[in-house]
């Protein structure tokens, strides 16, 4: 067998891509856990949430059957609270800090409770915020991902008219196009975007790409145009391009970029997605895990993840690694891809055996080539060695940057006056929840900028 699609039955696809964290079935089930929450003061869980959701409060509100209030508490800090409840690596965030861990008891399932309240809000379209009277101020946001949407919602609440320019045909950013299908469905992402813009005062213009010299047929916008037509601009374009491995054989048929692979899973029917028989995945971040597990779930026989450092240095969390292991993915530590071999198509991945050397400046021990190699017989290689920013675009716009990562000051502002930025485009790629917080910070800065008298 080689690369092919339609490996499984409809039921198998259905089962493999069903929700990895099923919700509470009943109010009672939610109550059992909600009632366990101690209602901590200056709660460690809240402090470990990048958007500082008042967790004890929203959980308490579930116990008092004030579900609207609970959802409001969540959305007040994080308008993507519904999505975050499904995709956040909570074991290293809120749940990881829950005081129950210190009693060696299971942490409160904060995400699951958060999902409980927010899903009800989405399902019933409870619009819990009232948009202030229009101020007549206009802001353009580039990118309808988490950072852009979060920024837009805060601005809309304050009576600003927001226009979002998005190059894709759907909103949600990597939430829609990148995150594993068993975490969020395309339908959910669409619902969430609709819910957010439901407040009013936010218009998303799809298929509009910021950039110069557009290929024929694509409608274009430029930063200069936006600056001219709006009181302020917020750049939330994320990072998009996959990092190249820069090894021989990278252009063979069967070498795929993880983001593209996942994008396809998210954008087409499962049975239409091609996957190899024996797949190697390069990397050990969240993207690598998602690619490996989903390759397996699409029906690949053997999936092997290779990572150049050891388990101690891995960028994914233990929970994520466990998902991959439970899905039956093989893991090879201390292995760096050296060459991809094949005749037109991928046949082998040659890896160098590594060992950990001296700690570098950051204290992390970097891998050193031992000179030995080993070979994996594979028919597909998925590259998940990280993404790189839209360096060319950013340079074209004359924006200060660090290898393409936008540089902003403490006030969220780029070097161009009135142009602010945040999210993956600035931090180089973190989590959805970080992008949401960035959007809030950006909105606050923009409000200060466009209405200084009101936001002193």
């Amino acid at each position: 067998m080689a690369i092919q699609n339609n490996r499984l039955t409809a039921e198998q696809y259905e089962q493999n891509f069903s929700d990895i964290h099923p919700p509470f079935e009943t109010h009672n089930a939610a109550l059992v856990e909600a009632n366990r929450c101690l209602f901590c003061y200056d709660a460690p869980c809240t402090k470990s949430c990048p958007t500082s959701i008042n967790i004890p409060k929203f959980i308490k509100q579930i116990t008092t059957e004030n579900i609207k209030g609970s959802a409001h508490t969540i959305f007040q800090s994080n308008i993507m609270g519904a999505g975050c409840s499904k995709v956040c690596p909570v074991e290293k965030l809120c749940e990881g800090s829950c005081v129950y861990n210190l009693m060696d008891e299971p942490a409160i399932p904060i995400a699951k409770l958060q999902r409980y309240s927010t899903e009800k809000a989405l399902a019933n379209n409870w619009q819990l915020f009232e948009r202030k009277k229009s101020t007549g101020k206009k802001v353009a946001i580039v990118g309808a991902g988490p950072a852009g949407l979060s920024c837009a919602h805060v601005l809309a609440r304050e009576g600003v008219d927001v226009t979002i320019y998005e190059k894709e045909s759907k909103g949600g950013g990597l939430m829609t196009y990148g995150i594993a299908a068993y975490k969020v469905t395309p339908q959910f992402c669409e619902d969430e975007v609709n819910y957010i813009v439901g407040i009013g005062g936010i218009e998303i213009k799809y298929n509009q790409e910021l950039g110069k010299d557009l290929p024929a047929g694509r409608q274009g916008i430029t930063l200069a145009k936006l600056q001219k037509n709006y009181d302020s601009v917020y750049l939330a374009i994320g990072v998009g391009l996959a990092r190249q491995l820069a090894i021989p054989g990278e252009d063979l048929e069967g070498v795929e970029d993880a983001i593209k692979f996942i994008y396809e899973i998210r954008n087409t029917k499962y049975e239409k997605v091609n996957v190899g028989d024996k797949v190697a995945v390069i990397g050990m971040g969240m993207t690598a895990i998602d690619a490996a597990t989903q390759a397996k779930r699409l029906g690949a026989n053997e999936v092997t993840m290779v990572y150049r450092r050891t388990e101690n240095e891995k960028p994914c969390t233990d929970v994520e690694l466990d998902i991959a292991k439970l899905d039956g993915c093989n893991i090879i530590w201390l292995a760096a891809p050296k060459e991809i071999k094949g005749h037109g198509k991928v046949e082998q991945l040659v890896c160098s055996k590594m060992q950990l050397g001296e700690p570098d400046a950051s204290g992390r021990r970097s891998p050193v080539d031992t000179g030995e190699t080993f070979t994996l017989n594979v028919d597909m290689v998925i590259k998940a060695a990280g993404q790189i920013p839209y360096e060319a675009l950013i340079k074209d716009c004359a924006l200060n940057n660090n290898h393409g990562k936008l540089i902003i000051d403490a006030n969220q502002s780029t070097n161009i006056k009135g142009v602010f930025a945040g999210g993956d485009a600035v931090n180089g790629g973190k989590e959805v929840v970080d992008a949401v917080q960035a959007g809030k910070d950006g909105a606050k800065a923009i409000l200060n900028y466009i209405m200084p008298q009101m936001h002193e």
Partner: protein, 422 residues
């Protein structure tokens, strides 16, 4: 193994746990099941004149995700025909001669009715009587139940009628719906009752339905005050029990403790405060009769640990420790201490002391975990932090006497010592 058998007014039972007069004891099938499960005795559901019940009848207070912290009912006395009850009592006594089968009575308010009822029940084989002077609803409107128990003179009169006729032990059950249970208690002891039991249920509204706006329990768009019982009433029952146990007159007769008893621990507390035995209703109604097993085993193990051989070794032991406020030792002082190894940094102690007590806890900021320590010189030793701390023995109270000698409030004033520490 300790001996947990009980002798209350000469009525013997293998353990001190009786089922209180209520639905669990209203017919033969229940009582047989209770005895098979191991209950020491029952007080048969109150017999008297014929009544009619309504639907619905019960409601409850839930708390923190737990059901039935408090329970209330608007039921009347037994609504089954007297003859059937009497026949079943006879059968039960015959089947279980080693258990205490007591019958609760509430006759119409005249001598003849009481005498007639007593005669019939004695003939049926009752081992003792409990006079229901406590039912707070339905019967009171007919001048019975709590209406009797709330008026020491009427109570005295009824007990006198009963004592004229009864040849078996008589317990009088007191209502808590009074300022103090002592006046009626004294009055019925003077009238000759052999023993007392308390408490019956407390008048209550458990809650209001936020959709219908009608309180619970709901009967065709209306509700009435119901009798409250279950774990929520235990502290009130213990207080009332103590006042009866400490009174020089009522303290001389055996007392059957009732009100919110769910576990062997609750039972032991009642007995330490003077109850010769205990009665249980709500806990059985919530869980069924099987709770008796742990009640017996737990009591037994506790007695072994403490070295008590029989129940009499500890009944009433705590009564003398309840004193008057003005006799408390003002020089006694203890302060909170946090065991940092056990602390889980929930901050509950801090916010509770900061907002509502004496601002005696320090917060040292940390991410994500703050550190909390006691400001020893500020702490008044109120216990609040210890009470709210979710970790057992994490906060302990350490004795730090102000001065070695005993001094109470009266002495303090006489000596003109300073007031207002904080």
């Amino acid at each position: 193994m300790a001996n947990i058998s009980s002798n209350f007014l000469g009525i013997k039972s293998p353990n001190p746990f009786w089922l209180a007069s209520a639905p669990p004891t209203d017919k033969k099938i229940n009582v047989i099941r209770a005895y098979e499960a191991g209950w020491g005795g029952v007080v048969w559901k109150t017999l008297g004149s014929q009544v009619k019940n309504v639907s619905s009848r019960y409601s409850a207070v839930d708390y923190g995700g737990q059901r039935v912290m408090g329970f209330n009912n608007i039921e009347l006395i037994s609504d089954r025909p007297l003859d059937i009850n009497l026949k079943e009592i006879t059968e039960v006594v015959k089947l279980f001669p080693d258990r205490a089968t007591i019958v609760s009575l509430m006759a119409d308010n005249n001598r003849e009715s009481w005498h007639e009822l007593i005669k019939k029940c004695e003939d049926a084989g009752a081992m003792g009587f409990e006079l229901n002077f406590g039912c707070p609803h339905g019967m009171t409107e007919r001048g019975m139940g709590a209406a009797v128990g709330q008026d020491p003179e009427i109570a005295c009169m009824v007990v006198e009628w009963v004592m004229e006729k009864a040849t078996i032990p008589v317990i009088t059950k007191l209502t808590p719906n009074v300022h103090s249970v002592v006046p009626t208690g004294r009055s019925v002891v003077k009238a000759g009752t052999h023993g007392l039991s308390l408490i019956n249920t407390i008048q209550s509204i458990t809650g209001v339905d936020l959709d219908t706006f009608v309180p619970n329990p709901y009967v065709a768009g209306k509700s009435v005050f119901g009798g409250y019982c279950g774990p929520a009433v235990k502290p009130i029952a213990l207080k009332m029990l103590t006042t009866i146990a400490q009174d020089e007159l009522t303290g001389k007769v055996p007392i059957s403790g009732i009100g919110g008893i769910s576990t062997w621990k609750d039972a032991v507390e009642f007995m330490l405060l003077g109850a010769g035995n205990v009665q249980v209703c709500t806990a059985a109604m919530k869980h069924g009769f099987r709770i008796i097993e742990d009640m017996c085993e737990g009591l037994n193990n506790w007695m072994d640990e403490k070295g008590f051989k029989t129940l009499n070794d500890f009944i009433g032991k705590s009564v003398p420790t309840v004193t008057h406020w003005e006799d408390l030792d003002i020089n006694y002082h203890h302060i909170a201490k946090i065991n940092q190894d056990k602390c889980i940094h929930c901050g509950l102690c801090y916010i509770t002391c900061e907002d509502t007590s004496h601002q005696s806890i320090n917060l040292t900021y940390g991410k994500p975990y703050n550190t909390y320590t006691i400001k020893e010189e500020e702490c008044v030793g109120c216990n609040l932090c210890k009470l709210v701390c979710p970790v057992d023995n994490c906060i302990t109270m350490e004795e730090q006497r102000v001065a070695p000698e005993y001094i109470n409030w009266k002495m303090w004033q006489e000596q003109g010592l300073p007031l207002n520490d904080h």
